[in-house]
Amino acid sequence: MIRDITIGQYYQTNSVIHSLDPRVKLMGTLIFIISLFLGMNILVYIVATLALAGLIIASKVPFKFIVRGLKAILILILISAAFNLFLTPGTVIFKVWKITITDRGLKTAIFMVIRLVYLIMGSSLMTLTTTPNNLTDGLEKGLSFLKYIKVPVHEIAMMMSIALRFIPILIDETDKIMRAQQARGADFETGNFIKRAKAMVPILVPLFISAFRRADDLAMAMEARCYHGSNGRTKMKPLKYSKKDYLAYLILILYIGICISLNIIF
């Protein structure tokens, strides 16, 4: 049952979006988010909607995968909408008992919901079209300027990719430990939430021990293969920009330009 959890929600198709350099996609997501928070201008949102729709169609990822990410933050969206709706001062347009809705409140609430929904859809689109490894590679290369202020970018990226690799192994391990304990009468399924949570503690101890042992083994295996940080390290598959990546950057500049000018003009 526990093995069904998938981490990193990559969806494989052979679209243009998938073949873009991860750095472009990271930058694109950032620009898209910035454009959403520029201001509350309806025209900007129309442009953003068109752009998002275009990207989703180009990515060939089924729409239901993209909205799936919304489920997790549904409560957050509702709460922020409620706060904006009921607590913003302005001209009252609707009043029942102590609940008042103002025109400004309604407007902010709608924009807030659209912003959050687009934000999640935009970033889901990125994770759906980029493999986790590509993503860490992109982060490493894209943030490499940070190493001049002594941020260990390579080391962080290496840790991220190792963590991603070990997730399925640790899930397997958890499954094994749970079954071993169930075989000896442990009960994980009945009782209330607190009781079930307490039953999980005996799983954590052996899991931690084995995780440390694995980490130790892995560190030794890496050292044995001459790993010594990023110094003098070459890349087997270095990230290289191609023509379509430059084109994508151009489109991004154009997009943010349009958004800013719409904001200024109207």
């Binding site: 295996a221 001459c226 070459t234 087997m236």
Partner: protein, 322 residues
């Protein structure tokens, strides 16, 4: 314990290696790839205040010379110090006393560490815990990446070493999805891609099924014969040892036996004292001999036993017909 060696220094080392290597070769003809002299290693257990609680001698005054191009096996039951010995060959631990030379480089000198690890690659027991990447070809390329091999050459090396272990068709697979034997072959390819002179394997087959075990051992013999790579196989499976050039037996940190497989396995009683099993055929031959059959000691394969038995039957027939 990661050593930060400047990039250009590393390149310089790689370039100079060929030259210095030929020089050394000319100096001394009988070059040993691995040499351990009076090697002693102690695990010191301390209590919370840092006082020494107990000292455990994992390796006790061991002298070993391993010739280049040999297939060497190190035997011993659990806790005999054989794994600790393997770690010394890769400069993963430093000797408490004595010294180890790998290709004439002392493992105690830190500037040698990277070159030693490149010369003597190491494969570990658990295949899952030594795989670093999520694709087979990236995994094999990890070692060459670390020693600064240029991109094009990495691809060449990856292809060559994957073909050498017969895993080229799996180059785009996820290593976690492979069988145990395949994983270990990928791990071996990852070492081969660093072009080592010597591969140290610390119980590489302990977690594999018989088929996987056979795959791995076959690959090792092939590498040994075709590429002339020195293989140091640490194991407690006797069947893997019978084709070795030289066998060392360790017990409680000491080197207790040394010789050709046939000489080692003729001493069945002594091996049993050391809590080691002999290959089943050897044991059967030994028991038959104890029962009075005139079988020679040191039978290693089923075929040998059959010939030997047929010889005895032939003798009997001759006697009867007289």
């Amino acid at each position: 314990m990661i050593n930060h060696i400047k990039c250009d220094k590393l390149k310089e080392i790689v370039v100079n290696e060929e030259i210095s290597y030929t020089l050394i070769r000319n100096e001394e003809n009988n070059l040993n790839i691995v040499k351990a002299e009076n090697l002693t290693f102690e695990y010191i257990r301390r209590d919370e205040e840092g006082n020494v609680e107990s000292i455990n001698k994992a390796i006790d005054n061991v002298n070993i010379d391993i010739k280049e191009g040999d297939f060497v096996a190190v035997l011993g039951h659990n806790g005999s110090g054989k794994s600790t010995f393997a770690k010394h060959l890769n400069a993963l631990v430093s000797p408490t006393e004595g010294s180890v030379w790998v290709d004439r480089m002392n493992t105690l000198e830190h500037e040698n560490t990277l070159r030693i690890r490149q010369t003597a690659g190491m494969v570990f027991q658990n295949p899952d815990n030594q795989i670093i990447c999520t694709l087979v070809d990236e995994e094999v390329g990890f070692g060459p990446e670390n020693i600064g091999v240029p991109e094009d050459e990495i691809w060449e090396r990856v292809e060559k070493s994957l073909k050498a272990v017969g895993m080229y068709d799996f180059r785009l697979a996820n290593p976690t999805k492979l069988s145990g034997g395949q994983k270990q072959r990928v791990a071996i390819a990852g070492i081969v891609a660093m072009k080592p002179k010597c591969i140290v394997l610390d119980e590489p087959t302990a977690m594999l099924d018989p088929n996987g075990r056979k795959e791995v051992i076959e690959v090792l013999h092939e590498l040994n014969k075709k590429e002339n790579v020195t293989i140091i196989l640490i194991t407690h499976y006797m069947e893997e040892v019978i084709d070795a050039d030289e066998v060392y037996v360790m017990n409680e940190g000491k080197l207790v036996m040394q010789g050709k497989p046939r000489d080692i396995f003729s001493q069945v009683e002594k091996l049993k004292e050391l809590r080691l099993d002999v290959p089943q055929v050897t044991e059967l031959a030994h028991e038959l001999r104890k029962e009075g059959l005139d079988i020679k000691e040191g039978i290693l394969t089923t075929k040998e036993l059959i010939t030997e038995l047929e010889r005895i039957r032939g003798l009997k027939n001759v006697n009867n017909s007289r």
